[in-house]
Amino acid sequence: MTITDQMTSKKPDANLRLRVLGKIGEHKPYNCYQCIKCTSGCPSMKMLELKPHEIVALAKAGFIDELVSSGIIWTCATCLKCKERCPQAVAPVDLIIALRNLAVEKEAKVPESFLQALSMILECGYVSRPQATITRKLEKIDREKLGLPKFREPDERFKATFMKALEKTSRGESVQ
């Protein structure tokens, strides 16, 4: 007998759970005993109702699809306090990042900015190009005027290799 989510009538998915847990290192969520230390110190809890202990519990139970398609996994600020403070060496933040990776693979809801950052890196090697800025006195100024060395983008071989790296599935999956 398995549990059923009474809101959606969905059952846990053991295979998907294996895939997500395969993406994280030694900080597996099995040892979580729901002390809620992570959630009590989570800054996104105050602002966006992120509850890391619930994410860990749902992942343990196998409700992966529900997590992957929920916007809640994108409310983490990656302050890493949950990973630092967990008495059971569970890392809720690592689990959240693994769920985000799966959300991308499954083409679920993914905030556009993350994918934009990726295309910028493919285009110029960095998430942005040098921007003109202004001084406090509102003078327009750039790297050259500030006497900073010329900004150099990596060569074409980097872009080709980064493309190859992107084709690889996430960390650990090939290991498991």
């Binding site: 900073l148 690889k168 960390r171 650990g172 090939s174």
Partner: protein, 292 residues
């Protein structure tokens, strides 16, 4: 001594004052900085999309430093420091991943062996350069100044991979300030996050993170907030007005990079430290610091 320096994305494309002040203070403290050749992004945003690709990005920059023959690499941005540190940790604990990444790096005749020590500005100044050298370099001590420090999450946690300072009670930046003659005020919000990483998905919440911390700091009556991370500086300094608008608070907190503060104490001219680029109201602070 000679060290490789990795600037990342945010510093050389937006946060010019950090780059300028680091380039000014380090040589005067006896450190020759050499930029990484052909460097690229270290991948914090990519972690959320594809972890393997993110580890590749971070490792690539370490491998470049290795190829250039360095033993030390200074990653001045907190985000970069964490990416490089985490990648090294993963690779030393996962042989297969290490092999996979090295196969990718080989396409550019690069190789990761894990011999490089990675530093951040704060531990580099505190542990490598040290108290005596810094104190000797000070010509305008900042006696009487009351300052607050913000370390930024990504150089403090997770301590399991080794970090710049104690994850719950960091002291190095406080001491660095005290070596200049100023006092560092203790405050309960010291470890609070600036919210920068939420700018990608929840900017309103990100501004609230920054605004609440700035409000708490303002209430302390400190002369300035001192940080050492370009993303935190983006939130606290460049976007202080947005943080104020989002939280409904009137904010007037001067925000200055530690390397700018150090440069001032060392007598380096303001414009060389990019002190005309801070958007927060630092003019009064500068006047006070110069009269001093």
């Amino acid at each position: 001594m000679k060290t490789a320096v990795y600037w990342g994305c945010v510093i050389p494309t937006v946060q010019y004052a950090y780059e300028m002040s680091v380039r000014e203070v380090m040589p005067r403290l006896g450190v020759e900085l050499v930029d990484l050749e052909n460097a690229s992004c270290c991948g914090p945003q990519v972690q959320s999309v594809n972890m393997t690709a993110a580890v590749y990005l971070a490792t690539r920059n370490i491998a470049i430093a290795e190829k250039m023959g360095f033993t030390d690499l200074l990653a001045v941005c907190n985000g970069c420091h964490l990416s490089l540190f985490e990648a090294s940790y993963h690779l030393s604990h996962d042989e297969k991943l290490c092999e996979e990444i090295n196969t990718l790096l080989n396409e550019e005749e690069l190789h990761y062996s894990g011999k490089i020590k990675i530093w951040h500005t704060i531990d580099f100044l505190h542990d490598m350069i040290g108290e005596d050298t810094i104190k000797k370099a000070v010509v305008h001590p900042l006696n009487g100044f009351k300052l607050v420090v913000h370390y930024g999450c990504h150089i403090l946690r997770p301590s399991s991979i080794g970090t710049v300072d104690d994850p719950e009670n960091p002291q190095k930046l406080d001491r660095l300030i005290e070596w200049l003659g100023a006092t560092s005020i203790k405050y309960p919000e010291k470890l609070d996050c600036c919210g920068a990483m939420l700018m990608l998905s929840h900017p309103d919440a990100a501004f609230t993170f920054a605004g609440l911390k700035l409000k708490a700091i303002q209430d302390l009556g400190a002369d300035a907030l001192i940080d050492s991370c370009p993303s935190c500086q983006n939130m606290f300094d460049m976007r202080q007005k947005s943080a104020a608008a989002t939280t409904g608070a009137k904010l007037n907190v001067p925000v200055i990079y530690y390397t700018q503060l150090l440069g001032l104490a060392m007598g380096i001219p303001q414009e060389k430290l990019g002190l005309n680029l801070n958007r927060s109201p630092i003019d009064e602070f500068l006047q006070k610091a110069l009269v001093h």
